[in-house]
């Protein structure tokens, strides 16, 4: 009974987990990419190399990682097969969809392409260098947008509540990461690792809505619109904004930047002006011969965007009482009055354009976990992950079973609690043939089989060339 209660508590606490990343990979120590999640992880090779730039091995398969995450709903929450006489039909279920929405729905995509990674073991240190191309993009939608659209503004009006749209966001970041890391055995039990990353930003669009709200007064239905928002962009082709008058509002591509990009598209990829820094730190500790503990902090860093920075800032408040009726002498006067109203709205909410550099922070993650070596060929793991993302904190709990089946093959099965769902079964497989080591990992293969129930889909695969691999020996006192 107690166990059930504990499980329920965990499920409740972790109901808001999101964008899974490396939950299965974390304990795949035969895959050097696990050091991306914890720099202190000891990989059993003396040397490895991988990445897209490595001939043949780097393309078969290409070392990519893709992740989609949604912290609120999945496809069947909107459209699902009906019941009864509708059993053979898809039905639209808006009430269910609304029930599943969270305060802010984050839909995120993460795509990474390893260009190159190198690792070399030196005595009690392991040094790594990795260059990775990363694309992080997504959209955040506040609950109140759906509430307003689907239920209208009257329910909130009657409660005296404003509609809060400040959770709205659009983000896109493309950057290149050059990470230099190392791990070192501090003593017999403790290994510490870290990676220093230099980040080269390529392109960014980032929104920051401090306030975006609509309040409807229950007495006279007047509406108060409030905005305090910024939209930042740093793109190779930027915009010319004309916001002098409402009649001439326009955003158009800057011709000079467009021409420059068309003439030399490679310059986009060689841009070194948007510099950032980040670091990963990790530790692993042998509590007992059977039990290892891990902890790591990943992607703590920022990028300073200096190329074509554009900051659109809008801040204002307007009380709308309806159209002002005046005694117009003719149609021209009426039209002028309407124009005046539109101009007023425009001038209040018109964004100012600043062209100053700005900073964005990477979404950082923290991992805490442990491994119990039940048997030489069977290890049980538990991993807690928390991620800071746009004023939200998302969590997940993963239980895993890992087995180094043979010297060449290891298989990993995980079960994760996330997004109020308990249907994330992950799978990882690594296989080595000579110096070539392949891996394929997903944190939720069940979602790939049943995408209609997927709040998270991810896949990582690639190939490393490894040398100096050692026979895996179980540590003392492991059961056989």
């Amino acid at each position: 009974m107690k166990k059930h209660i504990l499980l329920l508590i965990f499920a409740g606490v972790l109901a808001s987990a999101s964008a899974q990343q490396g939950l299965t990979l974390y304990n795949m120590d035969r895959v050097m990419q696990s050091q991306f999640i914890n720099p202190a992880i000891d990989v059993p090779y003396k040397f490895h190399i991988g990445g897209l730039l490595v001939p043949i091995a780097g393309q078969l398969p290409p070392p990519i990682y893709f992740n989609y995450g949604n912290n609120s709903f999945y496809y069947n929450h909107i459209l699902h097969m009906g019941k009864g006489d509708k059993a053979d039909n898809l039905v639209l279920d808006i009430p269910l969809f609304m029930k599943k929405l969270k305060k802010t729905t984050h839909m995120r995509f993460d795509t990474q392409i390893e260009l190159l990674n190198l690792g070399i073991k030196l005595e009690n240190m392991f040094l790594t260098v990795a260059i990775t191309e990363k694309f992080k993009y997504g959209m955040s939608l506040p609950y109140d947008i759906f509430e307003f659209t689907l239920n209208g503004n009257m329910p909130y009006m009657q409660e005296g509540k404003p509609h809060d749209f400040s959770g709205f966001g659009v983000n896109f970041t493309h950057y290149r990461e050059l990470a230099v890391g190392g791990s070192m055995q501090a003593n017999n039990d403790l290994t510490l690792g870290g990676r220093v990353k230099i980040l080269f930003g390529m392109a960014n669009v980032n929104t920051n809505f401090k306030e975006l709200s609509l309040y409807t007064d229950p007495d006279d239905y007047s509406m108060t619109f409030t905005t305090d928002m910024k939209v930042h962009s740093s793109l190779p082709i930027f915009f010319d904004m004309n916001m002098l008058e409402i009649d001439s509002v326009g955003l158009s591509l800057n011709e000079a930047s467009l021409t420059a990009f068309e003439d030399n598209p490679a310059s986009y990829f060689l841009n070194l002006k948007n510099i950032g820094m980040g670091f990963d730190i990790g530790a692993s500790y042998k509590l007992t011969p059977e039990i290892d503990l891990y902890a790591s902090l990943i992607d703590f860093g920022f990028i300073s965007w200096n190329t074509n920075p554009q900051n659109f800032i809008s801040k204002g408040q307007y009380d709308f009482h309806g159209l002002e009726v005046e005694l117009w002498e003719n149609d021209e006067e009426r039209d002028a009055s309407m124009q005046n109203f539109a101009d007023t709205l425009f001038n209040i909410f018109k964004p100012d354009l600043l062209e100053t550099s700005y900073l964005t922070w990477l979404p950082s993650s923290v991992y805490v976990g442990g491994k119990y070596k039940f048997h030489q060929l069977l290890h049980f793991t538990a991993l807690y992950r928390g991620e800071f993302y746009r004023k939200s904190y998302m969590q997940s709990l993963t239980l895993g079973v890992n087995s180094n089946l043979t010297e060449c093959i290891s298989a990993h099965l995980t079960y994760s609690l996330a997004h109020r769902t308990a249907n994330h079964i992950g799978f990882g497989l690594s296989a080595r043939l000579g110096p070539v080591s392949w891996y394929i990992i997903t944190d939720s293969f069940t979602n790939m089989i049943w995408p209609q129930k997927a709040t998270n889909i991810n896949l990582r695969m690639g190939c490393n060339i490894v040398f100096g691999y050692k026979k895996i020996k179980s540590s003392a006192s492991m059961r056989t």
């Binding site: 039909n89 898809l90 808006i94 209208g152 009726v325 005046e326 995408p451």
Partner: protein, 556 residues
């Protein structure tokens, strides 16, 4: 082997089921396309803060409303009439003078050889015939005019005729002309002499008015004959004369004024009725502009109001001070200096007439006929007139908005087509319109709307009360001035069930009724120009749509 096949079969069936399930979920052809949308919105529609002065400025281009001397508003109806054109009354006829110089007028004693000359000089008078037998004109300046002179000589000698008009001058130079004749006689003419700008002094003869002297000098030159007989005749025509200014005495002339009817739209409209009302201080104002330099008297021949209730009603002179009738004419101001335009006025009110009786009988129009007579005092040579002199009369009926109106009511019918609300997918299930009015006028208003079928059978009414109070009258003080705004919030709600009642609606009958504050008790109010009304309109609407999306799209 069999076991393995069994497991393989089970696995295959499972896989097919799984993939079939996935495929079905993403097969949009299976979507039943049934949608349900249920939302409620509230929003403000319009607001305003309207002052009476704004309405006056916008809609009252004809000056129907004015701010009177006491500072509150009057309703006025006016008409303006001009007199006959001045040159229809005071004008210049064509003038003519002729004469003859004959041989007996000469002394031929020393007239017998070449270089001998003999002359005869005399002065003739050209008498002007005038527009009025009594007129005695002193001078005039011509705007246009033509003079033709035709002469003829029968003398055997050569001759020269000198004609001069000493009192017809331009820039101080009198007009003159010379005619010459060869021996044996002949004709000589001087035609189309332009007299534009000439000053004619008609006081230079013994008569002292209406005449100008004409100086004639005929000189004969001995031409080798002893025949001294003959005549020289002349004929002078002054024609097409128009004056710029004329001075003198113009005699007694009569100018006539006849107005169109002044419609009193307040009582004339067929759109509304008023059960009872009172105007505390109705009045007439008559304005008289006179640019004639001639003393005049003015009086009405006819000042009548027409009422539905009482027919034609004469507006009478209660105190015998009004110029109603020739027995009591009014001496109006006149110009004393050229270019002046004098204004004079009369006021007809309840103190000096029966106008309040007339107004309270709901007059629909008023008409007047009047006349002005010049020089009522007789001979006076100080009259003057210019070419655009005119007398204009403006009659204004003023109804100061001081009083009360009880049961102003209006009813009208309009054809409607509410079929759009009846379609299967009408999304509106409930609509509520909220009207919040803060009224700064001392007027309350009620309204009702009836929805009827083609036979005018009532299907529903907008309000459940007989007539819904839409506007609360502002409270007034003892002098009738508003003390503060009154506020009334009216909510008009329509739900789907009520809309269904209007399926066969073809007509909308709307009725409105208004009273001034406490009019039932006879409380009088005043309307000041700074009164205003503030309003705020918002709505709530419940939307509900349920059905097949294709059908819904086709409907809309």
């Amino acid at each position: 082997m069999k076991t393995k096949l069994k497991y393989l079969l089970i696995a295959s069936i499972l896989m097919v089921s799984v993939f079939s399930c996935v495929k079905d979920n993403f097969n949009f052809d299976k979507w039943d396309k049934e949608v349900q949308y249920d939302a409620s919105f509230a929003a403000p529609v319009a607001w305003g803060d309207l002052a009476f002065t704004d309405a006056l400025r916008m809609y009252d281009s004809t000056g129907l409303f004015i701010v009177n001397e006491e500072g509150y508003v009057s309703l006025q109806y006016l008409t303006r009439v001009s007199s006959n054109k001045v040159n229809e009354i005071i004008y210049l006829n064509n003038q003519n003078v002729n004469g003859t110089v004959e041989s007996p007028d000469f002394n031929f004693a020393q007239f017998s050889a070449f270089n001998d000359t003999v002359s005869f000089f005399y002065t003739d008078f050209l008498t002007f015939s005038m527009f009025n037998a009594e007129a005695e004109i002193d001078s005039l300046i011509l705007k246009t005019g033509i003079m033709d002179i035709a002469t003829n000589s029968t003398f055997s000698h050569s001759a020269r005729l000198y004609v001069k008009f000493p009192s017809v001058t331009k820039n101080g130079v009198p007009f003159s002309t010379i005619f010459t004749y060869t021996p044996g006689g002949g004709s000589s003419v001087s035609l189309n002499n332009d007299f534009t700008g000439y000053n004619i002094d008609l006081t230079q003869t013994p008569t002292n008015f209406n005449e100008i002297p004409v100086e004639i000098r005929l000189t004969l030159f001995w031409s080798g004959t002893t025949d001294n007989s003959g005549t020289v005749s002349f004929d002078v025509n002054m024609k097409d004369m128009q004056y710029k200014i004329m001075h003198g005495y113009f005699g007694e002339n009569t100018l006539f004024f006849e107005s169109d009817t002044i419609d009193i739209s307040l009582f004339k409209s067929n759109d509304w009725e008023i059960e009872r009302y009172l105007f505390m201080d109705p009045k007439f104002k008559i304005y008289y502009w006179n640019s004639y330099g001639v003393p005049s008297q003015f009086y009405f021949d006819h000042l009548v109001a027409h009422s539905v209730l009482q027919g034609d009603m004469n507006i009478l002179d209660d105190a015998n001070n009004l110029p109603i009738g020739p027995a009591n004419p009014y001496d109006v101001n006149y110009a004393l200096v050229v270019g002046q335009r004098m204004l004079d006025s009369l006021k007809v009110n309840k103190e000096n007439s029966n106008i309040d009786d007339v107004v309270n009988a709901r007059p629909q129009w008023i008409q007047f006929k009047a006349r002005a007579t010049t020089n009522p005092a007789g001979l006076d040579h100080h009259n003057f007139v210019i070419d655009d002199s005119q007398i204009e009369v403006e009659v204004i009926m003023e109804l100061p908005l001081w009083g009360y109106i009880y049961n102003w009511n209006l009813k009208d019918t309009a054809k409607v087509d509410l079929s759009d609300l009846q379609n299967e997918y009408n999304p509106i299930k409930r609509v509520l319109v909220r009207v919040d009015i803060q009224n700064g006028f001392p007027i309350e208003a009620f309204g009702q709307v009836y929805f009827t079928d083609e036979n005018y059978v009532i299907l529903d009414s907008l309000f459940y009360t007989y007539e819904e109070r839409l506007l609360d009258a502002a409270k007034v003080d003892a002098s009738g001035k508003v003390l503060d705004f009154s506020r009334k919030v009216t909510k008009i709600e329509y739900v789907d069930e009520r809309l269904k009642k209007l399926e066969t609606c073809k007509y909308v009958v709307y009725a409105a009724q208004a009273n001034t504050t406490n009019a039932v008790a006879g409380t009088v109010i005043k309307i000041f120009k700074d009164y205003r009304v503030k309003f705020d309109v918002g709505f709530e609407v419940d939307l509900e749509v349920e059905g097949n999306i294709d059908s819904i799209s086709n409907t809309f």
